[in-house]
């Protein structure tokens, strides 16, 4: 019974909806009736082509005057086709389209230095008409990319702040950096290994020296190496990249020299295993279970090997201090290590530990940048919420 009633109600509603919709369709057609006399559309005129100014190259701008047949009343007019060739008289191919009413197209697929010709075609389904070819035009990159002006200004402010802070630090001004929890544990962890007479392992990640996290990790290695040189604690640094091996050896050697213990340094402290991610993980795991280090540092860029390494270190009872800016790997270090430097703390750690003016100045400069970002967010959110101004547009980088 209910089903039958429901069916009747549904059918009635459907009929009403159809009637309403047909009214709309009829109304739409009556507003813009088709022009039965419409044939071949008039072509767009005055086609201009130019290299996009102030860009990074690879783009040409095409402009034209609208076809006289590009009017609201004409439902047959479908828009414009843009054709391109490297020859003036043939091989033109469609590279894009523009809707009716639009007189601009940017071709973002050009090769800098190559001469191109363009045709703009008025498209009315089976009827088309073309402008004469225009060109040649070559795209090129300019010294200054206007689309990145905001980025340039922001980086200029940031760089100036960093340089000023570095100069202050060099002149001996005390620059305050708050305590970073995980770093206080570094001395404690080295001390523990010394008391136990066991090794310290330092894993600088699995990425090469072109990764900033690896650079930060190797900087922290310098501080750890100074401590191991001071306390005569054995240090083992297995690495997965030849460049990291060379850099880490330099850093460790310098640390031992600075402490006055060059005799305690040997190249084997930093040794290469393999470039392969999981081959490296298997190798480090084997070393950890056999050597049973008292302390393990993981500082750098890690991928899926992070939990394999940290869990093995945990199983031998080592104190583990990790630091990475890889968001997907941080949860594993947080779960399996005693202390974890989260994201930017890794970069701040190298400055905090070394008290090096350049690093401290950089850290302070970046803090100023964060402060400016916080203020910008506050202003932007207020303006956006009030609906006064699209503030976020100012931060669009092309």
């Amino acid at each position: 019974m209910l089903n039958r009633t429901g069916g009747i109600v549904f059918t009635t509603l459907a009929i009403i909806a159809c009637c309403v919709m047909s009214d709309f369709v009829y109304a739409d057609n009556s507003a813009v009736p088709e022009d039965p006399s419409f044939g071949v559309p008039a072509p767009p005129s005055n086609v201009r082509v130019e290299d996009v100014p102030g860009d990074a190259g690879g783009a040409v701008r095409v402009r034209w005057n609208l076809s006289p047949d590009d009017v609201d009343r004409n439902t047959k007019f479908e828009g414009y086709q843009i054709l391109r060739s490297t020859q003036i008289d043939n091989n033109f191919e469609i590279i894009g389209t523009s809707p009716p009413g639009q007189d601009l197209f940017t071709d973002n697929s050009t090769t800098d230095g190559v001469e191109y010709y363009y045709i703009v075609r008025a498209d009315a389904g089976s009827m088309i008409s073309e402008s004469p070819p225009r060109g040649p035009v070559k795209s090129s990159q300019q010294w200054f990319n206007i689309g990145r002006l905001n980025s340039f200004i922001a980086l200029l402010i940031l760089s100036t702040a960093i340089i000023l802070y570095i100069n202050q630090a060099k002149r001996g001004k005390e620059l305050y950096v708050r305590k970073i929890a995980g770093l206080d544990a570094v001395d404690e962890a080295v001390g523990r290994a010394t008391e136990m007479g066991r090794k310290i392992f330092f894993i600088p990640g699995t990425q090469d020296m072109n990764n900033v996290q690896t650079i930060a990790g190797v900087t922290i290695l310098g501080r750890v190496a100074r401590l191991t040189a001071q306390y005569e604690t054995p240090l083992d640094v297995p690495v997965s990249r030849s460049m990291v091996m060379v850099t880490a050896r330099e850093v460790v050697k310098e640390a031992y020299l600075n402490i006055g213990r060059p005799d305690a340094y040997n190249d084997d402290m930093v040794h290469y295993l393999t470039d392969d991610q999981f081959g490296y993980a298997a190798g480090v795991d084997g070393l950890v279970v056999r050597e049973e280090p008292a302390t393990i540092f993981y500082m750098g860029a890690f991928y899926a090997e992070s939990l394999i390494l940290a869990e093995t270190g945990n199983s031998v009872g080592a104190i583990q201090i990790a630091g990475t800016a890889m968001p997907a790997q941080l949860p594993f270090f947080v779960a399996a290590c005693d202390y974890t430097l989260i994201g930017e703390e890794l970069f701040a750690a190298s400055a905090y530990l070394s008290k090096e003016p350049k690093l401290l100045g950089s850290l302070k400069g970046q803090d100023l940048g964060k402060l400016i970002i916080l203020v910008a967010i506050a202003i932007g959110v207020i303006l956006e919420t009030a609906g006064w101004f699209d503030f976020s547009r100012l931060f669009t980088v092309q």
Binding site: R148, N150, S151, A154, L155, L158, Y176, V177, R178, K179, M209, N210, N211, V212, I215, M243, V246, T247, E250, Y272, L273, T274, D275, D276, F278, G279, Y280, A282, G283, D285, G286, R290, P327, A328, L330, P331, F332, V334, A335, I342, E345, A348, Y352, L363, D367, G369, K370, L371, L374, A376, I377, G380, V381, E384, T385, G387, S392, F395, T396, V397
Partner: protein, 225 residues
């Protein structure tokens, strides 16, 4: 994939079991697998780096390969210089080659210091290149995506989470008072994110484990359909 007790399947299965045996404890089979894995992969990467980088990007581009072979390879910078009399941009690769060769001076004790130059070049250029790209992708893009009207719960959460997260990573002031409270909220946001990420990744790791078990029980032993 071929199923059953073929030689390759049997070797793959034994190596898989050998690596998994580490869950029990360090043992001779794991040591064998580990040594094989490390040794074979180190050798593989050496060959791979030679054929993917050194040979095509340096020797072929400069035209050194073409001097010693009759194979059909595009002319390099040397051939362009000889045949067309012009200095091609590819000669710039010579700088990279020289920097690479300088790394080998580490093998000569008295000249080892020279190897610091290519290192300084790599570290310096890397920092410079990443300075702008990181700033644009991590700072500008994040800032743009955070400036939102507070007209929905989702937007409010994004704004509060980003602001509090930024406060946590502000190192010039101690986390006390309002700063401390905001930083604590920032840590909550981070931990909730980590928890979700942890669960997601564990599930994907489980699928990897299932894949290996499927290989052993299905492909190798043929126990399941």
């Amino acid at each position: 994939m071929e199923t059953g007790f073929t030689l390759s399947n049997t070797i793959a299965a034994i190596l898989t079991i050998g690596i998994i045996s580490f869950l029990w404890k360090d043992n001779p089979l794991y040591k064998l697998c580990e040594s094989l894995f490390v040794g074979v992969s180190a050798g593989y990467w050496f060959v791979s780096l030679y054929y993917q980088n050194l040979l095509p990007k340096l020797f072929d581009t400069l035209g050194l390969t073409q001097l010693f072979t009759s194979a059909d390879i595009e002319p390099g910078a040397i051939q362009i210089l000889i045949n067309e009399g012009r200095v091609d941009n590819s000669f710039l690769y010579l700088i990279a080659g020289i920097l690479g060769a300088l790394m080998l001076t580490r093998l000569i004790p008295n000249l080892g210091w020279i190897s610091r130059w290519p290192l300084a070049f790599i570290v310096g250029t890397t920092s410079g290149l990443y300075f702008t790209t990181y700033f644009q992708s991590n700072a500008m893009a994040q800032l743009r995506s955070t400036i939102l009207p507070l007209d929905s719960i989702g937007n409010v959460v994004i704004v509060i989470g980003t602001v509090c997260g930024l406060v946590y990573f502000y190192f010039s002031k101690e986390h006390k008072g309002v700063m401390g409270g905001a930083a604590r909220v920032g840590v909550w946001f981070l931990m909730i994110t980590f928890g979700a990420s942890f669960g997601y990744t564990v599930m994907s790791r489980m699928s990897l484990l299932i894949g290996r078990f499927d290989f052993i029980f299905s492909t190798w032993l043929g126990l399941t359909g």
